[in-house]
Amino acid sequence: MNTTGKTCQQNLIGEMGKRWVFLFLLLEFAYFSISASGYFSFDTVQMILFYGTEIFLLASAELFVIITGGIDLSVGYVLGFATVISSKLMVVFASLGISPIGCILISIVITLVIGLIPGFVNGVLVAKLRIPPFIATFSMLGITQGISELLMQGIPAKNLPILAGSIGNGYLLYIVPGQALSFFHRPDVPRGVRVYEIIPNVVVFAFLFIAVFAFILKRMRFGQHLYAIGGNIDAAARAGINVRKNLVAVYMLSSFFASLAGIIYVMKYITGKADAGAGFLLDAIAAVVIGGASMFGGSGTVWRTILGCFVIAVLETGLRMMGTPTFDKYILVGVILIFTVLIECFFSNFKK
């Protein structure tokens, strides 16, 4: 059971500590704005948001599970699985002569439904059969990877509707100063003319879902119950909360978010592959932990998790824009990751 003093999050994080991630983010941003030319711009922020969408979604997925004291290792490959399913479906429907928008919508819906299956299995394994989350989701990682590879047979999905790419890479608003202003549709301009693009579609899409679930987590019974389960599973059960049902739901939710990320991947890169999300897993968990959640469960919020994502994304982008050589970048990211949390811990101890 949670004993105080095991890790720093379990101590009450002081006010300063609570704000620290945000402060650190500002510091990071300020630093890179000074030292990397072109960093301080609207484009950079949009770029961070655009390329961060998958991680935002995966980190949210992971957060729900971590709040209940579990872990979901399968999110990365569930993402891959969803990319494979949706890209395959789009190709099939397109060949049936369905209109592009129809193809895309039907594929998305079917993928989201199929995407719930890995989560359901995980949830049943963890909640009903009491398999440690680590083993259940580790096994699911292999299963989804295998199924995706079998479906792909080493050939990336090709000939997806062009519309998918234009939605995925599109923006809400385009402005060509003095000439044109259009919604959703990029105006045709000669090479070299600057087009101002404002707010990528996929970011809006992702944040709609994240906001809804942030609301559910904070304001609704389901969210309250997740915290209770993570805080004291026995207390939750004795208070009459259906722990098992909630756990199954939470793993399905995690899987759902991973599938959403997969769909966004397909729309962005108009291709699908099994290992599409493999590289995101550790970053997603790290974002949750930087956002102040405890791996032992019971704490963490969506917005702080998003801040955690930003800490990583701003850092990565900043170092890239400064032109830090690859190896130094690895070292610096490591140092700064530790540094972020280290200071947060200092503050929380400080207050005590």
Binding site: G38, M47, E149, Q153, G192, Y269, D275, T317, P325, I336
Partner: protein, 332 residues
């Protein structure tokens, strides 16, 4: 106590901020009209590191600047595109040399950069079907420079067949089915082996770029088929893993090993007789050619750039491995 913590924090901070610029290495690119190129590798491996060296050497020779983007951790657009965008946002490069990690996914971001006025050259891998000569959504790059992977696979099959007397079981250790270049090598190898009626390809395994896994998979294959006579390792990690598996099994000499990519390690193994054939792509040459054509075109836009440049392969065998003329093809 509080005071110490504050001092410590302040110290750490200054240290952190102080070291950043030092570590950031390359200073901002020059804005004095000098041509600046961006080299965007496909994934972190020896092949692209060697290519980077070719790029750098040629750039120095021609007096142009080159900036090398971060090496992506894994093969795929999700790793490469964010790096490309962030690096390209630094300044307006004159040209970008890139190994696209997806035929489709890279079209949109590269087109965007192209529209901003940067020239694109794809190296090693290509956009679409690689044919930029006819008009299409992906025909905007200047040229494609790279090896013909399928042909290479086929050549390997033929050479391996010759070594084992055109009969017997062979095995293929590959890396990642999601990497198109490797998938092409396997395809070529399959087709090549199929031409020899007395030969059989008993399996293709995928090691996901982990040498240890390649070793385990090859050993299992050897255990299952005790009469395997030849193995094809399709890239650095799979080739190193599979030859080491043969060494582990004590079967050196009894099994012929063909490997793709000429790292020092594999050349060393060839010298020791643990590997029998090494195919060297010419990463340094690919890189150098990319720089050369980019500069030629940027200096005179009327230059006619060939849409496809295939530098070919070199084969290392026991006979020619000590030949000084071959030295240049080793990756380092």
């Amino acid at each position: 106590m509080k005071k110490t913590i504050v001092i410590l924090l302040a110290g750490l901070f200054t240290l952190g901020i102080g070291t950043l610029p030092i570590a950031s290495g390359e200073s901002k690119a020059s804005a004095d009209g000098k041509i600046t190129l961006l080299f965007m590798p496909g994934v972190a491996d020896p092949f692209y590191t060697t290519m980077e060296k070719g790029v750098r050497a040629k750039a120095a020779e021609l007096g142009v600047d080159v900036i090398v983007a971060e090496y992506p951790k894994s093969w795929g657009p999700e790793a490469q595109v964010p790096i490309l965008e962030a690096t390209a946002a630094r300044m307006k490069f004159d040209a970008i040399l890139i190994a696209p990690t997806s035929n489709d996914a890279l079209i949109a971001p590269l087109k965007k950069l192209y529209n901003k006025g940067m020239e694109i050259i794809t190296v090693d891998t290509f956009l679409g079907d690689g044919d930029y000569s006819k008009k299409s959504t992906y025909s905007f790059p200047l040229t494609y420079i790279g090896s013909d992977n399928e042909l290479g696979g086929k050549l390997m099959a033929e050479k391996l067949a010759a070594m084992v007397g055109e009969k017997g079981k062979v095995f293929c250790e590959a890396t990642n089915p999601d990497a198109s270049s490797v998938a092409d090598r396997v395809k070529g190898f399959k087709a090549g082996i199929a031409e020899f009626p007395e030969m059989e390809l008993v399996g293709v395994e995928w090691c996901q770029d982990v040498q240890q896994v390649a070793q385990e998979q090859t050993l299992a294959a050897l255990q299952k088929n005790k009469d395997i006579v030849g193995i094809f390792g399709t890239n650095v990690y799979s080739a190193q893993g599979s030859y080491q598996a043969v060494v582990n099994a004590g079967l050196t000499g009894a099994i012929k090993i063909c490997s793709w990519d000429a790292t020092q390690e594999l050349i060393g193994a060839l010298k020791k007789g643990q590997v029998d054939l090494v195919l060297a792509q010419k990463p340094a040459e690919i890189g150098a050619l990319g720089v050369e054509w980019a500069v030629k075109f940027l200096k005179d836009k009327s230059v006619n750039v060939p849409k496809k440049i295939i530098p070919g392969f070199e084969f290392f065998t026991k006979e020619n491995v000590n030949d000084p003329a071959m030295e240049q093809y080793i990756y380092k």
